[in-house]
C-alpha cells in the first residue's frame, strides 16, 4: 500500500519533469533571443560601447550620455517626425484601402475567394524583393511610373520619386502601403465574416441599409478586430527597416531616415553600439505605449 503510494508519487514527479521538458527548450530560446537582447541593450545604452570595445573588451559605463547624445542630435527630431509620418501614413491608408477591399470581397461573387488569396502575394514576398521591384518602377528617368504618367500627359517632367527630399518619404510610404494592404484585407475580411447575417436581416427590417447598416452594424462589430489590427500595424511599422534601406537607404539628405534606420546606422555603420542601443530603446518605449493598447485589445482573444 505504502509502496504503491510511493510509486505513484514518483510517477507524479516524473510527470511534472516531462511537462517541464515540453516547455524548457522554448523558455531557453525565448530568454536567449528576447530576454537577453533586451537586457543587453539596456546595458549597452548606458555604456560607451564602440569599435574599441571589440578589441579591448572594455565598455565603461557613462550613465545617460548616449541618450542625451542621440536626442540632441539634430537628426533626431527629423527621424521622429519621419517615423511618425511613415507610421501614421502607412497605417491610415493600409487600413482604409484594406477595409474597402474587404467589404468588396465580402460580397459573394464568382472567383471572390481565389482573387482574395492571390491578393496576399505582395504580403508574402520578401520585403527586399518588393523594394527592388519598386525601385525599378520608381526610377526617375527610365522607371515605368514616370514613363506612363508622361505618356498620359499627367506630368511634364519626370518626378524624382526617390531622389528628391520632398517626395521620397511619400514614395516610401506609398510602397509600404502597398505591402500592408493584403494583411489588412485578410484580417478585416475575417472580421466581416464573423458578423452574423441575422444582424443585417434585423437591421433591414428597421430600415438600416447601405451606409446606415455599415455605421450601425458592421463598424461596431468590426471594432475589436480593427483595434488589434491598428495596434499591430503600429508595432510592426515603427520598426520597418528593409523597405527604407532598399528604396532610399534613409536618403536623400536623410529625408527618409527613421528611428529604426538611425539605430541601424549608429550600430552597424558607425559602430557606436551604445548610441544605437539608446535609439532602439526609445523605439521599444514608443512601441510599448501602443503595446498596452494592443494587449488590452487582444486580452479577450487570449482568454477565449
Amino acid at each position: 500500500m505504502a509502496g504503491r503510494a510511493k510509486s505513484r508519487g514518483r510517477r507524479h514527479r516524473g510527470e511534472t519533469l516531462t511537462k517541464v521538458l515540453f516547455v524548457l527548450p522554448a523558455v531557453v530560446a525565448m530568454v536567449a533571443l528576447f530576454g537577453y537582447p533586451v537586457v543587453k541593450n539596456l546595458l549597452m545604452s548606458l555604456q560607451d560601447y564602440g569599435l574599441k570595445t571589440f578589441f579591448t573588451g572594455v565598455a565603461p559605463f557613462v550613465g545617460l550620455k548616449n541618450y542625451s547624445t542621440v536626442v540632441t542630435d539634430k537628426l533626431f527630431s527629423d527621424a521622429m517626425v519621419n517615423t511618425a509620418l511613415f507610421t501614421v501614413g502607412s497605417i491610415a491608408f493600409q487600413f482604409a484601402i484594406g477595409l474597402g477591399l474587404a467589404l468588396f470581397f465580402h460580397k459573394k461573387f464568382p472567383l471572390s475567394g481565389l482573387l482574395r488569396s492571390l491578393l496576399l502575394l505582395p504580403w508574402l514576398l520578401p520585403l527586399i524583393v518588393s523594394s527592388a521591384t519598386w525601385r525599378s518602377i520608381l526610377e526617375q528617368d527610365s522607371g515605368i511610373l514616370n514613363r506612363t504618367l508622361m505618356g498620359l500627359h499627367l506630368i511634364n517632367d519626370p518626378v524624382p520619386w526617390l531622389n528628391s527630399p520632398s517626395v521620397a518619404l511619400i514614395a516610401v510610404i506609398g510602397v509600404n502601403i502597398w505591402i500592408g494592404i493584403p494583411f489588412n484585407v485578410t484580417l478585416l475580411y475575417s472580421g466581416l465574416a464573423e458578423i452574423p447575417d441575422e444582424l443585417y436581416e434585423a437591421g433591414q427590417l428597421d430600415g438600416a441599409t447601405g451606409w446606415r447598416s455599415f455605421w450601425y452594424i458592421t463598424w461596431p462589430n468590426l471594432r475589436a478586430v480593427a483595434s488589434v489590427l491598428l495596434m499591430l500595424g503600429v508595432v510592426y511599422t515603427i520598426k520597418v527597416l528593409d523597405i527604407i534601406l532598399g528604396l532610399t537607404g534613409g536618403g536623400p539628405a536623410n529625408a527618409t531616415q527613421t528611428l529604426a534606420t538611425q539605430s541601424y546606422e549608429k550600430s552597424f555603420v558607425d559602430f557606436r553600439f551604445g548610441q544605437g542601443a539608446a535609439l532602439s530603446n526609445i523605439l521599444i518605449a514608443i512601441s510599448f505605449v501602443f503595446a498596452i493598447f494592443y494587449l488590452r485589445g487582444t486580452r479577450r482573444a487570449v482568454d477565449e
Partner: protein
C-alpha cells in the same frame, strides 16, 4: 447574375492593379536590355540572360538562403511544437504568463536582437555563419509557430491522449504518436511560415554577416541595389527567383495561409 459578374470584373481589375509590380518584376527580368527605359509592357523578345547572370552571381546565395531557411524550420518547429502543446493542454497559471511573454516578444524590434546577438556572436564566433543566422531567424519563427500551433492544438481532445496513456504510453510518447499526426496541417502551416520568415530575412543577414562567405540572397539583392543599377534584368531575375517560395506557398497552401496569418496575429 449580371451584377455578380460585374463584381468579378471589378475584382480582377483590383487584382491587376495590386499585382502590377509583381508582373513588372517578371517582365523586367525577361527584357533583353538591362535598362528599363526601353522595356515594353510585354516581354515580346524574352531573353534569359538576366537569369543566367542571376544564377551565376546569386546561385550560391540562393542555396545559402535555402539551407538557412530549412534549418530554421527544423529548429523552430522542434522548439515550438512541444511548447505549443503544453500551452494548449496543460492547466497551469503559467500558461497566461507564457502567452503574454510571446505577445510582448513580437513587439521587440529586430534591431535590438541584432545589436545584442552581434556582440555575443562576435565573442563566440557565430558571426558569418549559417548556424548563427538560423538561430537569429528563430526569433521571428518560434513565437509565431507557437501561436499558430497552439490555436490548432486547443481543439485536440484530451481524451485521445488519455486513452493512449491508459495503454501505458508516457506523456512524451503519446505526444509523438497521437498529437503530432493529428496536428500535421498546422505543423505544415507553421513550417511554411517559418521558412518564409527566414527566407525573407534581411536584417540579420545584413548585420550578422560582415564578409562575403555566408550571404543570403536578400543581402545579394541589397548589394545589387547598393551600386548604381545598370542591369535591371539581372536584379529582377534574382527578385523573381527569390519570390518563388512565396508563390509556391500561395499555390500549395492558400487555404492555410489566411488562417495562419490570423492565428499568428490575433490569437
Amino acid at each position: 447574375m449580371l451584377r455578380r459578374t460585374t463584381y468579378t470584373v471589378i475584382g480582377v481589375l483590383i487584382l491587376c492593379v495590386m499585382l502590377f509590380p509583381v508582373y513588372w518584376m517578371l517582365n523586367a527580368s525577361l527584357q533583353p536590355s538591362g535598362n528599363t527605359l526601353t522595356a515594353g509592357f510585354l516581354p515580346l523578345h524574352p531573353t534569359f540572360s538576366g537569369y543566367k547572370r542571376a544564377l551565376d552571381e546569386q546561385g550560391g546565395n540562393l542555396v545559402t538562403s535555402m539551407i538557412i531557411a530549412a534549418g530554421t524550420v527544423v529548429l523552430s518547429l522542434a522548439i515550438a511544437t512541444p511548447c505549443a502543446y503544453a500551452l494548449s493542454q496543460f492547466r497551469s497559471r503559467w500558461v497566461s504568463v507564457g502567452l503574454l511573454a510571446i505577445l510582448i516578444s513580437q513587439m521587440i524590434p529586430g534591431i535590438v536582437i541584432a545589436n545584442a546577438l552581434y556582440t555575443a556572436y562576435e565573442r563566440i564566433g557565430l558571426l558569418n555563419s549559417i548556424p548563427g543566422l538560423i538561430v537569429a531567424n528563430c526569433s521571428s519563427a518560434i513565437p509565431f509557430a507557437i501561436l499558430i500551433l497552439r490555436s490548432f492544438m486547443l481543439s485536440v481532445p484530451p481524451s485521445l491522449v488519455e486513452a493512449a496513456r491508459v495503454d501505458g504510453a508516457g506523456l512524451f510518447r503519446a505526444f509523438v504518436a497521437i498529437v503530432l499526426p493529428i496536428s500535421k496541417n498546422s505543423l505544415i502551416t507553421a513550417g511554411l511560415f517559418s521558412f518564409l520568415f527566414s527566407w525573407s530575412d534581411f536584417l540579420f543577414a545584413l548585420t550578422l554577416t560582415t564578409k562575403g562567405g555566408v550571404r543570403p540572397v536578400t543581402l545579394g539583392i541589397y548589394q545589387y541595389l547598393g551600386t548604381q543599377v545598370q542591369n535591371w534584368n539581372a536584379v529582377m531575375a534574382t527578385a523573381v527567383l527569390s519570390a518563388v517560395p512565396a508563390i509556391v506557398l500561395l499555390i500549395a497552401a492558400q487555404k492555410y495561409i489566411a488562417a495562419g496569418a490570423i492565428g499568428g496575429a490575433v490569437k
